[in-house]
């Protein structure tokens, strides 16, 4: 009995100790999809609206239209951003996934490398009306440059400077800043008496990356070499990160509390009139849901170092957006392509982008009058003239984590009143780069 008991103790502790560290996977078959179940599709949509329910309300009528046209029933699942990438990774590993899915366009090259997504060669593009229908910068964010895209652009966005008109008036500023020097001069006028000039999401890794990427371009830094090796510690990269963090540390136009923001708190600060400016992509719907009237805020291009926004060192935004991909293991390949064709058709693009406040990546759809309002005009111009895609490399995801964390740590230091120097910025970036080294 005693021996049995000992064995039971052993087995029980073993299983207790093991519960946390197990991690499984399954094998998959190759191949390019089949047409085994031509009547249904599963669609994973990313969360684009204020909440999941809003997305369902926008998408359901369109899916019903598609069913009427083709007889294919689309099962919709809207997945929050915090889960989407994990879900895709799990689907990739197990081979059990959706037929069609949305991906953040910055993941394109990473997911392309996994081989889970259907490559968009000439033949596939021909089935949805050809490659030329799409805006070039958006296509540039759909996979590594030397490969067939892993996805097609669905919604496009870019960064813009949103400002509070009344706060500008009160501070005696007559136009939004066009350069960073002007931003700091204006910012100092505004940042007093509990009010602050600029909002930031200091603990949001992706947002940090988006900001320092554009600033990096302005300092001539790319974060990756031509052949895809991490290059985080160049003088330009250090200067870019320092310039961003210095707006809190040295110029004091960002409130220290923003260092811990990661859930769009900077947007509610803006809506409440606590901060006068935010750098954001397509923020109109959020402002509206937070009770701000359209007349209260204005939009301008994100500042540059000098002159006007353009290419190269005058880049002032990343190419932001959502891509649509077909899962290679789909059991309804023809239906999937039809669905992508439907969603990227001129008519659907107009309806969907209008609802989401984004810019259609389909050229013909952009000409609709609905996309002429001032905000979208700025976003459209930025996308066409002065936006650059984030590095399309397989380890982009690691880059976001490593460098995003470095910026987060630097903001934490700045918020605690510690000085941020070129040396301390470089040290953080060296650490970030070392984490990439074993790839």
């Amino acid at each position: 009995m005693r021996r049995f008991r000992a064995a039971a103790v052993g087995a029980a502790t073993l299983s207790l100790a093991l519960t946390a560290s197990a991690c499984g996977g399954g094998s998959t078959t190759g191949g390019e999809g089949s047409n085994d179940s031509p009547k249904t599709l599963t669609y994973w949509a990313s969360n684009q609206g204020p909440n999941i329910e809003a997305d369902k309300k926008i998408l359901k009528p369109e899916l019903a239209k598609f069913e009427k046209q083709t007889g294919i029933k689309v099962k919709l699942e809207v997945i929050p951003w915090s889960e989407l990438l994990n879900r895709i990774l799990t689907a990739t590993t197990s081979g059990q996934g959706p037929d069609v899915l949305n991906i953040g366009n910055t993941w394109s090259a990473s997911l392309q490398a996994s081989g889970a997504l259907l490559p968009w060669d000439e033949k596939n593009f021909a089935k949805i009306g050809g490659k030329d229908r799409f805006v070039e910068s958006a296509l540039g964010s759909a996979g590594a440059p030397d490969k067939d895209p892993a996805a097609v652009p669905l919604y496009s966005m870019a960064y813009a400077l949103y400002y509070n008109k009344k706060m500008f008036e009160e501070a005696g500023i007559d136009k939004p800043p066009a350069t960073w020097d002007e931003m700091i001069a204006d910012g100092k006028k505004i940042s007093k008496g509990g009010k602050w000039a600029l909002g930031a999401e200091g603990a949001n890794l992706s947002n940090n990356i988006h900001q320092v990427f554009a600033l990096g371009k302005q300092h001539g830094a790319d974060f990756f070499t031509e052949d895809g090796k991490p290059d985080f510690t160049s003088d330009g990269a250090v200067a870019a990160v320092k310039q961003y963090v210095d707006m809190m540390a040295k110029d004091k136009i960002i409130a220290p509390g923003n260092a811990e923001y990661a859930q769009n708190q900077s947007l509610s600060d803006f809506s409440k009139g606590k901060t006068a400016m935010v750098l954001w992509q397509a923020a109109a719907t959020t402002f509206k849901s937070q009770g701000m009237s359209e007349d209260d805020w204005g939009v301008a291009p994100v500042p540059v170092q000098s002159g006007a926004p353009g290419q190269g060192k005058a880049t002032n935004s990343m190419v932001a957006g959502i891509n649509m991909a077909v899962f290679k293991n789909t059991k309804n390949i023809d239906g999937s392509l039809k669905f992508v064709k439907f969603m990227t058709s001129d008519a659907e693009q107009k309806i969907l982008c209008k609802s989401y406040g984004s810019v259609p990546p389909v050229k013909a759809a952009q000409e609709d009058a609905a996309f002429d309002r001032p905000e979208l005009k700025v976003l459209r111009d930025t996308l066409a003239k002065s936006a650059a895609p984030l590095p399309q490399v397989p380890n982009e995801s690691q880059f976001e984590t490593a460098v995003g964390t470095a910026v987060k740590n630097l903001f934490a230091n700045a918020a605690a009143g510690r000085e941020v120097t070129t040396g301390s910025v470089k040290a953080e970036l060296v650490k970030a780069q070392q984490q990439m080294s074993e790839q």
Partner: protein, 346 residues
């Protein structure tokens, strides 16, 4: 493992709460008991011996499938170079021998150094959290032994943190710890004026204490529940006898309560240790996918090393190392505590 029965058996009290704990730890025990039922003894010898095993088989197979198979797969993965290039067909990932382990334990290189740091943070965090959970839980359980008005209400109230869904509770804590709008700073800084400037809780060094607070808040009701159950088994007359002999409250706790709870404690501390060491939800909900260095618990660290950086081989290797560590700690702990107990009974 069920030495409580020595005490419970003699006094004749039911002892159900204590056996619930033990029952949870034992593999399904119903099958062999059915086999022992008298009716089944009549058929031939072979069937008599074979039947219990036959009845055990489904449970055994399920155990293998649910528990052991994923573990074995995880261990296999740790010897592979499983990056995003191979996750779709990970059988094709190249074998990397001990490379993943070498990277993980090379404490001079950044990856190993970060893992070691995370490990030490986790050890400190676990010791403090388990200690405080145990202390608060035990104290509360002892105080609530006395009958007084409102005892039921207090007991129920104390169990609320344990009953709340983890996500909802931790998100609320996250709001409370916000620097500018959070309740904690409102009380500490705005109302009481204890600090010169409003401190950060979710970034920087204070994040360790924020995490510890939430962990203890979430964990102590379990200790309280188990201790309360254990206390039911101590016969009242022992206290009465002790009181007659002139023992004060502190002596009663030290000489009667704690020794009688020894086996309950043994399980409780172990379970708390394993839960706390492996806790993923609390730091993940509180800090997101990149925890501040001061609160970089090992579970989050491993998650980051595998899911966020898409390097499942290294993540698995770290998991296996963690597993070995926990197994070693558990083994040593059980060995020491059972030896102590044996000598105590002689």
């Amino acid at each position: 493992m069920s030495d409580t029965t020595v005490t419970t058996g003699t006094t004749g009290t039911t002892g159900t709460p204590a056996t619930i704990v033990q029952g949870g730890k034992e593999p399904p025990a119903t099958a062999p008991e059915t086999g022992r039922a008298p009716r089944l003894r009549r058929p031939g010898r072979l069937r008599r011996i074979g039947l219990p095993y036959l009845l055990l088989l489904p449970a055994l197979l399920l155990e293998l499938l649910v528990h052991l198979l994923p573990i074995v797969i995880g261990i296999v993965m740790s010897f592979k170079e499983l990056t995003q290039f191979f996750i779709r067909d990970w059988g094709a990932a190249p074998w990397s021998g001990l490379d993943n382990y070498k990277v993980s334990v090379d404490f001079d290189a950044p990856v190993g150094e970060a893992l070691l740091h995370s490990f030490l943070v986790t050890c400190a965090f676990t010791l403090l959290s388990v200690g405080l959970c145990w202390l608060i839980g035990t104290t509360a359980a002892i105080y609530l032994q006395e009958t007084f008005k409102g005892r039921g209400l207090l007991r129920a109230l104390f169990l609320v943190p344990y009953a709340l869904p983890v996500y909802a509770a931790v998100i609320t804590w996250g709001f409370m710890f916000q620097r500018d709008n959070g309740l904690i700073n409102h009380v500490l800084h705005d109302q009481l004026g204890l600090t010169d400037s409003a401190p950060f809780w979710l970034i920087g060094d204070n994040s360790f204490f924020a995490l510890l607070t939430v962990s203890v808040w979430k964990g102590w009701p379990f200790a309280f529940l188990i201790m309360m159950a254990g206390l039911q088994n101590i016969p009242r007359d022992m206290y009465e006898a002790a009181a007659l002999d002139g023992a004060g409250m502190w002596q009663q706790i030290r000489r009667i309560t704690l020794p009688s709870l020894r086996s309950v404690n043994q399980v409780l501390v172990l379970v708390l240790f394993l839960w706390t060491f492996n806790d993923f939800n609390t730091p993940y909900v509180l800090f997101g996918r990149s925890a501040p260095e001061a609160a970089d618990l090992i579970s989050i660290h491993i998650y980051q090393s595998s899911f966020v950086t898409w390097n499942f081989g290294t993540g698995s290797a770290m998991s296996v190392l963690l597993l070995l560590f926990l197994l070693a700690v558990t083994g040593v702990y059980l060995w020491i505590t059972s030896r102590e107990r044996k000598s105590a009974h002689v």
